[in-house]
């Protein structure tokens, strides 16, 4: 009679597979930049003509281009580096529709990381204000100067995309909290930038 394989003493000792350092750096840097940029975007549009308005609009545009570049690098990085599998414990806490929702949310967020900045860029170009990145590097315009195009297409798309992305970020955070506080499956540790312990041999 074969001995039964030893069961783990406790679920908590099963290490959760964590994302790589680069994936974490992209995730947290962009989390901060997107939050700040979205907040500034919300605040600045209602400001009256002032120094602060001019400054915030330009900072928002510079941040947007930076987010676009970082997101493009992040997408290439993600395509070249598969994230570690969720593992049996986390997957056990997810019915089929949640796994589908998880994949769709991440996919849609990646699309919006690229599309929202691009629509913002198009919007300012169409208004006749090209972006000069950090006040130094003039960026090309990829749309003609046409205020109607900005008012009726690019700005509404930029705005709707930003709100959709904010909604998806909230959904993403809600799911993480559900795994952390309800399922206790250690999902948060996958992306938590804790110092890496030496593997116990």
């Amino acid at each position: 009679m074969l001995p039964t394989p030893p069961m783990p003493a406790s679920d908590a000792t099963v290490p959760v597979l964590r994302h790589g350092r680069m994936a974490m750096a992209f995730h947290w840097l962009l989390a901060v930049m997107l939050t700040l940029s979205f907040s500034v975007g919300l605040y600045m549009t209602d400001l009256p003509f002032s120094m602060m308005r001019l400054r915030l609009f330009n900072w928002h545009k510079w941040a947007g281009v930076t987010i676009l570049l970082l997101s493009a690098f992040r997408l290439f990085w993600r395509l070249a580096h598969r994230p570690p599998p969720l593992g049996a414990r986390i997957e056990a806490a997810m019915p089929g529709w949640q796994r589908w929702a998880h994949q769709s949310t991440l996919g849609a967020m990646y699309v919006l990381f690229i599309v929202v900045p691009l629509m913002g860029w198009a919007s300012t170009s169409a208004r006749g204000y090209p972006i000069v990145w950090f006040g130094v590097w003039p960026l090309p315009d990829f749309v003609p100067v046409d205020r109607g195009l900005a008012d009726h297409l690019f700005t509404p798309l930029h705005r709707a995309g930003a709100f959709l992305l904010a909604g998806l970020v909230l959904l993403h955070m809600t799911a993480v909290l559900k795994h952390h506080f309800i399922d206790h499956d250690g999902l948060l540790a996958r992306m938590w930038p804790a110092p890496r312990k030496k593997e116990i041999p």
Binding site: F49, M51, L54, N58, Y129, P130, I131, V132, P138
Partner: protein, 197 residues
């Protein structure tokens, strides 16, 4: 003797006619040219945090009277209706007439008057004069290129001036890291009645 007198008289008459002609000739060349405002433009470009922002004056007038072949004694005067300034954006246009910027209520007109015109050849001229904007008079040298086709003359040129020398953008706006001090001015003025180059 009679013959000699009539010769002298004739000589005098010819001399008088020649003198009158030579005096009239420059006077004819310096008849004032007429500005064609519809085609003409005065554009100014400032930089906001590195981004070029273009504006224009839509109402101005000019009196130009000089002989392009002998410009030294000529006159050039320009008046710009400051209230006609526009950046093409209602929010910015509402700010321009306010005291920190053009203070249009107190200073409705900017003026340029030439003190000397120098020909540099090939239709290029240097106009030295005084620009009075927002109550500040500053010396200004303007390079002008003149091209002529079918009785029309087009004077083009551009120069850079410092807005703070005229207190344009006062108070917090003196911070040149947001709105640069240098403002590029470009003009294209159409005239009829200017003498040939």
């Amino acid at each position: 003797m009679r013959f000699a007198v009539s010769r002298q008289m004739m000589f005098r008459a010819v001399a008088a006619a020649w003198l009158a002609f030579t005096m009239m000739a420059p006077a004819q060349a310096e008849a004032p040219a007429k500005l064609l405002p519809a085609q003409s433009q005065i554009v100014f470009t400032s930089k906001q945090m590195g981004v070029p922002v273009e504006g224009r004056f839509t109402r101005f007038d000019a009196q130009v009277a000089f002989d392009p072949r002998k410009p030294e004694g000529g006159t050039v005067a320009l008046q710009i209706d400051i209230g006609s300034a526009t950046l093409g954006v209602p929010m910015s246009d509402a700010e321009l007439p306010k005291p920190p910027w053009f203070d249009t209520a107190r200073f409705p007109t900017a003026k340029f008057g030439a003190a000397g015109i120098k020909s540099l050849g090939d239709g290029r001229f240097e106009v030295v004069g005084t620009l009075t904007l927002k109550g500040h008079a500053q010396p200004l040298t303007v390079p002008v290129n003149i091209a002529q086709t079918g009785g029309q003359s087009v004077a083009t040129g551009s120069f850079v001036l410092q807005r703070l020398s005229f207190q344009v953008g006062d108070g917090e706006w003196t911070d040149t890291s947001v709105v640069a001090n240098d403002v590029q001015v470009r003009f294209k003025l159409f005239f009829t009645g200017l003498g040939p180059l």
